[in-house]
Symmetry: C2
Subunit: 313 residues, 2 copies
């Protein structure tokens, strides 16, 4: 298996990424190769500096870098040899089984749409996030920012995408799908959630349990939480801020420690022809390593192929 990793993306790149790759090289399966994409001399220099002498990492040259603040579409057009463009090129040519980056989120999303593209039948690919559950494990919430405005049929597909991810990546049999709403009763909510409710309810391929509320985020009502990207982004950033607040206060607890974004690694882009993951810009080596391991599991669980099988006519 080959996991492509953008060495140049993130606030602490390339150092934190290369360090993360070195850790990951010890933890991936024996037959997995990490394709570390970036300026070859820089990346090789760092590998040497960190004393890496194994053969699980292959450096692939990319002469350009898309910076964190750049306009995604413009940057991808102007920088065809950027690490993100090269990574997606490998994914498209099936020279990589997954691609992950802690770089420019917009460029990762636009790059996916330009290169591997959305799975036929998928209206809007989605970025999924993870929320820790009080009873253990994680739930998946989507969308968390790729699609600020959504149509009801898009939310319905999020329920399907999330269900497949939860089943094969979080090992939840028959995952419960909840619609984030302002009340539990059917008929509550915005015009969007009211219409989405009816579609989710009528969809035989998911286990829809109805509306859930803000207070249900961390309990066991739903394993898959469906909402538009505006709402999901706010929820996820709010939840993540709790870790920092508790940490600052010196309060440590196994449950709240799971709010640390490092725990899960990256946020997968679901619904594209390939497995892609985006991590926080501030990602530490540990977070980068976890993203690589998550990418490996996505590839071996054939997540992208499962979407293709389900949605392509």
């Amino acid at each position: 298996m080959r996991i492509a990793l953008d060495a140049m993306g993130g606030d602490f790149a390339p150092e934190a990424i290369v360090k993360g790759a070195v850790i990951a090289a010890q933890e991936v399966d024996p037959d997995t190769t990490i394709l570390l994409i970036g300026k070859e001399d820089v990346v090789k220099g760092l590998l040497q500096e960190y004393g890496y002498t194994g053969n699980s990492i292959t450096v692939i040259n990319a002469s350009q870098v898309i910076e964190m603040g750049e306009h995604p579409t413009k940057a991808l057009t102007q920088k065809p040899d950027s690490s993100i463009a090269v990574g997606y090129g490998l994914l498209k040519m099936q020279k990589a089984d997954a691609f992950c980056s802690a770089g420019n989120t917009g460029a990762m999303l636009v790059g996916a749409m330009f290169s591997v593209k959305a799975v036929e039948g998928i209206l809007r690919p989605s970025i999924a996030g993870f929320v820790p559950k009080l009873s253990g494990g994680f739930g998946v919430i989507l969308d968390v920012g790729a699609n600020a405005d959504c149509k009801p049929e898009v939310l319905e597909q999020f329920g399907e995408l999330g269900s497949i991810y939860a089943k094969y990546m979080l090992d939840i049999e028959n995952p419960k799908v909840g619609l984030m709403n302002l009340g539990e009763e059917e008929g509550k909510g915005t015009m969007l959630t009211q219409a989405a409710y009816q579609r989710l309810k009528a969809n035989p391929s998911i286990n829809f349990i109805g509306n859930i509320e803000g207070r249900d985020l961390f309990n066991d009502k739903a394993d898959v939480i469906v909402c538009d990207g505006y709402t999901g982004n706010i929820i996820l950033k709010l939840a993540e801020s709790l870790y920092d607040i508790l940490n600052d206060k010196g309060i440590h607890d196994p449950f709240f420690d799971k709010f640390n974004y490092e725990a899960e690694g990256g946020s997968p882009i679901l619904g594209i022809n390939g497995n892609a993951l985006i991590a926080h810009g501030v990602s530490s080596p540990r977070a980068v390593c976890n993203m690589v391991l998550q990418a490996q599991k996505m590839a071996s669980s054939k997540i992208s192929e499962r979407f293709q099988k389900k949605f392509s006519a």
Copy 2:
């Protein structure tokens, strides 16, 4: 000053409400009277049971009760002598300076629109909630559920309503208004937030500081957080659930203890011709007492009159 209180509304009514009124009677200003509305024999019996002998509470008879699960409009039409209808009647006739209830939220909202009505010029009255700030005090977030779907001009007015409330009730001079969004940069967000941003920015009567994100809920970026009622409801319920989670874990902290809904008492309905407050159905006597004190401050701060002055042509 006369504060009307619905004795019959709430999961633990009338006992918890009457107990709350008895506590409040000790804490309100000497010239304040609590008008306790409900079935006279029941309420008077409870006052006797709790040993109340003062003269700060006047019982006003209302023979009917709107239950928590009833349809608001139907219930108000069919029960003209319900405690909520009687309360709003007193507010409309200016025989009460404020009215508060822990009962049916929908009926409280519909009752406001039927009786005292929205202030002329106000597009949609709003229910405001409160979020504790790490630096101390509270911020105000609106809407938290009265208006699931909002138009940009409605969000603009929420900024104005919240600013007046924050200034006179939370004693924040020149309150900072933030628009809850999925990114900080201008141009980010949904079609709604993009349009609302431009209106808030152009409004000279508020101190608009731009977009804020989910992670900014508890910091000092904004004193007034503007969002649609769907989003605000989810945020508020999520924040409130943290208190229960921490409490269950035995984690106590002055900041997180402020997440206890009891701390602030009630959620004001802003933008109507009168001061009205809604409390949680589960309200304890302490929460009821705090709502009465909050109602007293709303009346003495002339919150409703300030809205009338600002918005009426």
